[in-house]
């Protein structure tokens, strides 16, 4: 295991090392010390490696991640794992706004709460949140699954496409074109698999499904702009 200390090197030096020197070096575990809320830590990873960030991160931690398995032993700021392609990002604390935004693939696990706009425009990522999520989450979410073990805020799933949301707690309000649907066997299976992936012990039977009613998919000339 290698240990890299952000009191000794800059984030730019850290990321250049992770991008250019680490792949092929045979190191399978990296520990990053003293993150102190810095932005962009381990953004743009493109190799399979375990990265442990020991403390709180700032914005865009693990952004654009491909292949890496990143664990933050603390909280993160805006846009954790934004545009992730594959791999894992796990946040042991809470995540600020826009967690997993536009993510294409991989798994984002937030053990605490996620703030507003969690999963905005997600495009295939799986996001599993142990706590609550804030308002306007999964806005225009196109593909992937968002599992919420706590409650959801206002405007959940506004203008959803094909992404599916599973919520265990209360939903304050649904956004335009989002609707609750009956859970199928495939949904229970999916929730079980996602909870297992995150290591969260909940009964899949407690979850409800939110998906798109698809009434916005085609232009309705009679809607008179009232959605």
């Amino acid at each position: 295991m290698e240990s890299l200390d952000l009191h000794k090197i800059s984030v730019r030096e850290l990321n250049q090392y992770l991008h250019k020197e680490l792949p092929g070096k045979g190191v399978d575990k990296i520990e990053i010390l003293n993150p102190d809320g810095a932005h962009n830590i381990a953004a743009g990873m493109d190799c399979p490696v375990d990265i442990d960030i020991r403390g709180h991160g700032g914005y865009y931690i693990g952004g654009m991640n491909k292949h890496a398995n990143i664990t933050v032993h603390g909280n993160v700021g805006w846009g954790v794992a934004e545009n992730m392609m594959s791999g894992f990002v796990r946040v042991k604390g809470f995540a600020s706004e826009s967690a997993g935004a536009t993510g294409h693939g991989g798994t984002l696990i937030i053990e605490g709460d996620a703030s507003l706009r969690c999963g905005i425009s997600m495009k295939g990522i799986d996001i599993i949140v142990g706590g609550n999520i804030g308002n306007f989450s999964a806005f225009m979410a196109q593909a992937g699954r968002l599992v919420v073990c706590g409650n959801a805020g206002d405007g959940l799933g506004d203008s959803l496409y094909e992404a599916v949301i599973y919520v265990r707690g209360k939903i304050k309000s649904l956004g335009a074109d989002a609707r609750e649907e009956p859970m199928t066997d495939a949904d229970y299976e999916a929730v079980k698999e996602l909870l297992d992936r995150a290591g969260f012990k909940h009964d899949p039977n407690e979850f409800k499904r939110v998906a798109s009613a698809k009434s916005l998919y085609n232009w309705n000339a009679d809607a008179n702009q009232e959605y």
Partner: protein, 298 residues
């Protein structure tokens, strides 16, 4: 983009060092606001019946003793003045309207930064580290403070446009965000006889809330009217002589994080400004919710 910081020290022994404690917080917000910085600190109050005026002169070699001498001669009332470079603190028994009018008429280049029993305000253009060094921020002592680093988006970069803004007495406000209707608020307040010093959007929010409280609203009621009246993005951090208050707009467009510790409450735009606080790992960290009012009392 801008950065905000706030610190309220509960541990009495640490109050003499509030400036030192705050310094890494302000420096941590340099990237969010590199063009100006400012600080309001609430200190031991001046004597009964007295008010203090923080003054800003355009030149570092300003003759403050000359101003004090003219003040005594014209108004027949002795003032106390302490100065450092272009900044001075003047203490007087006279009515604040009398003092402000006298300064405006006799020293039009001198800007009144704040009026109150406890508040001191320092603000200027430049990197936060430069402004902090110019006004010796590490030496500040007091119970609580409100600071700001500015990246201007809607009005000029001048010392007067820097935050904190003040209105009335012992009241200040800093803002991260932008308002879209400051001019309509300004027109409304001008009808109430309230004068503005800049074309800055934050000044409109500052004077609006101070006006509501002068009209009898408490902070809760004033901010409720603020939510109805202010259109735009904002995280606002406000200071009064015995409290700090924080709100975020309904869409939480601008960030904020709070650390509550036995010794202090610290507020910043981002955690990187809290990372250097003593024992912060044992503080309770949380993100304030949109459209909720958070108040901490000294």
């Amino acid at each position: 983009m801008c950065g905000i910081v706030g610190l309220l020290v509960k541990n009495q022994k640490m109050r003499a060092n509030i400036g030192e404690l705050m310094m890494p917080m302000l420096i941590g917000m340099t990237e969010r606001g590199p063009d100006s910085a400012g600080m309001a600190v609430f200190t031991e109050p001046v004597g009964p019946g007295e008010l203090k005026y923080n003054l800003y002169a355009p030149s570092m070699e300003f003759n403050w003793q000359g101003l004090a001498h003219d003040f005594d001669a014209h108004l027949g009332s002795k003032v106390k003045i302490s100065s450092q470079g272009n900044h001075a603190i003047l203490v007087s028994h006279l009515e604040s309207a009398t003092v402000k009018t006298w300064i405006k008429e006799n020293y039009p280049n001198v800007h009144v930064l704040s009026v109150g029993q406890s508040i001191d305000v320092y603000k200027d253009t430049g990197l936060p580290a430069e402004v902090a060094a110019r006004y010796d921020f590490p030496k500040l002592a007091g119970t609580h403070l409100v600071g700001h680093t500015r990246m201007a988006t809607e009005s000029a970069v001048t010392p007067a446009h820097a935050h904190p803004f003040t209105a009335g007495e012992d009241w200040c406000l800093v803002h991260n965000g932008s308002l879209s209707n400051p001019n309509s608020i300004r027109r409304k307040l001008e009808h109430e006889g309230i004068a503005f010093e800049t074309d800055n959007d934050t000044e409109a929010a500052c004077r609006f809330l101070e006006w509501r409280m002068r009209e009898g609203d408490d902070l809760h009621a004033a901010l409720q009217k603020g939510f109805e009246e202010l259109d735009g993005f904002f995280t606002l951090l406000m200071g009064t002589k015995d409290q700090l208050a924080l709100v975020r707009d309904p869409f939480a467009c601008k960030p904020a994080i709070v650390a509550e510790h036995d010794d202090y409450v610290a507020i910043a735009s981002e955690f990187r400004s809290l990372a250097q606080l003593p024992d912060v790992k044992n503080a309770k960290l949380f993100e304030p919710m949109p459209e909720e009012l958070y108040i901490w009392k000294v």
